[in-house]
Amino acid sequence: MEAKGKTIKYGDNIDTDIIIPARYLNIMDRKELASHCMEDLDADFSKRINPGDIIIAGSNFGCGSSREHAPQVIKDSGISCVIAKSFARIFYRNAINIGLPIIECPEAAKAIEEGDEVEINFDTGDIKDHTKNVCFKSQPFPEFLQKMINAGGLINYINEK
């Protein structure tokens, strides 16, 4: 599995209220919900991203609420992967459960800049920044989680068992 796209960069502690404000949580239509992704921080987010784009962030990405709407709106916006220094734990499991690829790689999260062209190979854990012509190595997921990711999330994983 691979991902390729331009990057959008944010700082530390991007919380779930920023990713999807609670005032929209009663919206069940996923397309409508995704149109509000990041809007209090980055009003043009949904307009400026292209399918495949990659979010780069600092530490504790996705802190706060357990709302699964957060990784879901990022995925439904067309983001192919989030690379961060670290993730808040509920966001981490929610992302895996719904099949949004995420990578914890402090070196890449620090060095990659907004607008860089980045390519990720999820099988090897390689992150290539084509703009800067540098490569980063991330830790692959433990086998159990890799199986779940390969199945496309927790629901498929349970159904396959």
Binding site: N13, L25, N60, S66, R89, I90, N94, I98, P142
Partner: protein, 444 residues
């Protein structure tokens, strides 16, 4: 190598005798919780699993608390989805308007969590029940769906931070001040993926309401769970709040002392951390040195003591006293102690929200509601409403609110330029009468 209290509870819910931090496990779940925001998504996801029925209808709890009484049509539709699901699945623990309370106040009160339980909830503040000596953590809606269908869930075994408490807190220092102080010290990711295990002689000085508020905000330090050892106060609380079903196990004539003796054997199980348990970090806190504490915008870790905060004369527009952190009876009493015979300052709105119907009724019986209304505050039916900017107290551009809730992120309670200051009920009530952030010692 010994195990932490959290690791022991997790191990008891697997077929393994010993667990190590970092290990991936699948564990049996004692209770699955969802609310009106997260359950509709979980119900949709459960529909994709090859399972028609929940694994155990008595172990699923649905509490309608976030956007209720329904704030708009979409919210009403979501609650309807939950109601119909509960009906079709014969789930009796479905708490709708009239029976509901804010979930994390309601579940301990109704005796639905016991020492030694493994509880998951599709709400990040599910960590609250660690106060009961349970392992309890927040998850997402897909996790909730999986747990409802299979009764099991995957976990990464957490390491732990030990928080050693000693001393006795001052009169106006509450559990809220302690947890804000801790988050201020270690940061919003200071306990990332870890358990926060409380220990030491200072534990005995904290009431159950304090412990519930402390564990409630473990997530605000990034923690996987917060947990207190089981002591006399836990047993007393558990015995007094036993569910009807568990009460039946003790016979009609059993008194509180008899029931207390049965907590841990007849119902629930008591675990203690091993003496040689491994902790990533040990934090020593002297409760007698704590001051009332306020978290300034826009992170719970941005803390100042009340003395530093008062010096800044921060003018405010609103006060909220309630939520899963501080909507319990002792919080209502603390607010009333300050508001009695005083008036909410001009140009300040003060919203008081008892967290459950029982707390509401108790507040009524003790005359607290009269004190609130005479002071110029409003009293609302239980709801999470304003805490997450849902309804019942949304902030306009640039407005400031002192709130006993748990998060002060950008836009949390309304407009993105509004500001939330987190504090205890004592500080919130004093701020309401002062018109700026102030501690109880300034008026009492």
């Amino acid at each position: 190598m010994g195990m932490t209290m959290s690791q022991k509870i997790l191990a008891a819910h697997t077929d393994k005798k010993e667990l190590k931090a970092g290990e991936l496990i699948e564990a049996d779940i004692d209770l699955v919780l969802g609310n009106d925001i997260t359950s509709p998504v979980a119900i949709r996801e459960m529909g994709k699993i090859k399972a028609d029925k929940v694994y155990d209808k008595d172990k699923v709890v649905l509490v309608m608390d976030h956007f209720v009484p329904n704030k708009d049509i979409k919210s009403a539709e979501n609650v309807k989805t939950c109601r119909e699901f509960a009906c079709s699945q014969c789930i009796e623990k479905f708490y709708d308007v009239g029976r509901m309370g804010i979930e994390h106040a309601l579940i301990p009160e109704q005796g639905l969590c016991l020492p030694g339980d493994l509880i998951i909830g599709a709400d990040s503040h599910t960590v609250t029940y660690g106060a009961m000596g349970a392992f309890s953590t927040g998850v997402g809606s897909t996790d909730m769906a999986a747990a409802m269908a299979t009764g099991k869930l995957w976990f990464k075994v957490p390491g732990a931070i030990k928080i050693n408490l000693k001393g006795k807190p001052g009169k106006y220092v509450s559990g809220k001040d302690l947890i804000l102080d801790i988050i201020g010290r270690i940061g919003v990711d200071g306990a990332l993926y870890e358990s926060m295990e409380f220990a030491g002689e200072g534990v005995a000085e904290l009431s159950m309401d304090d412990r519930l508020a402390i564990c409630n905000m473990a997530i605000e330090a990034g923690g996987k769970n917060g947990i207190f050892p089981v002591d006399e106060k836990t047993l007393d609380y558990a015995a007094r709040h036993l569910s009807k079903k568990n009460r039946g196990l003790f016979g009609e004539n059993a008194d509180i002392e008899e029931i207390k003796k049965g907590i841990g054997s007849v119902v629930g199980k008591i675990y203690e951390a091993d003496e040689d348990a491994c902790y990533e970090e040990v934090l020593d806190i002297d409760l007698s040195k704590l001051r009332p504490t306020v978290s300034f915008p826009h992170l719970p870790s941005n803390t100042r003591t009340i003395d530093e905060a008062e010096a800044l004369k921060v003018k405010i527009d609103q006060v909220v006293i309630g939520s899963c952190t501080n909507g319990r009876i002792s919080d209502m009493r603390a607010a009333a102690e300050v508001l009695k015979g005083r008036k909410v300052a001009d140009n300040v709105r003060c919203i008081v929200i008892p967290a459950t119907q029982e707390i509401y009724l108790q507040s009524l019986r003790e005359g607290l509601l009269e004190i609130f209304i005479e002071a110029g505050a409003v009293v609302s039916t239980p709801t999470c409403g304003p805490c997450l900017g849902g309804h019942m107290g949304i902030l306009a551009d640039g407005e400031r609110c002192v709130s006993t809730t748990n998060r002060n992120f950008v836009g949390r309670m309304g407009a993105k330029t509004s500001e939330v200051y987190l504090a205890s009920p004592y500080v919130a009530a004093t701020s309401a009468v002062s018109g700026f952030i102030a501690g109880p010692e300034s008026v009492m």
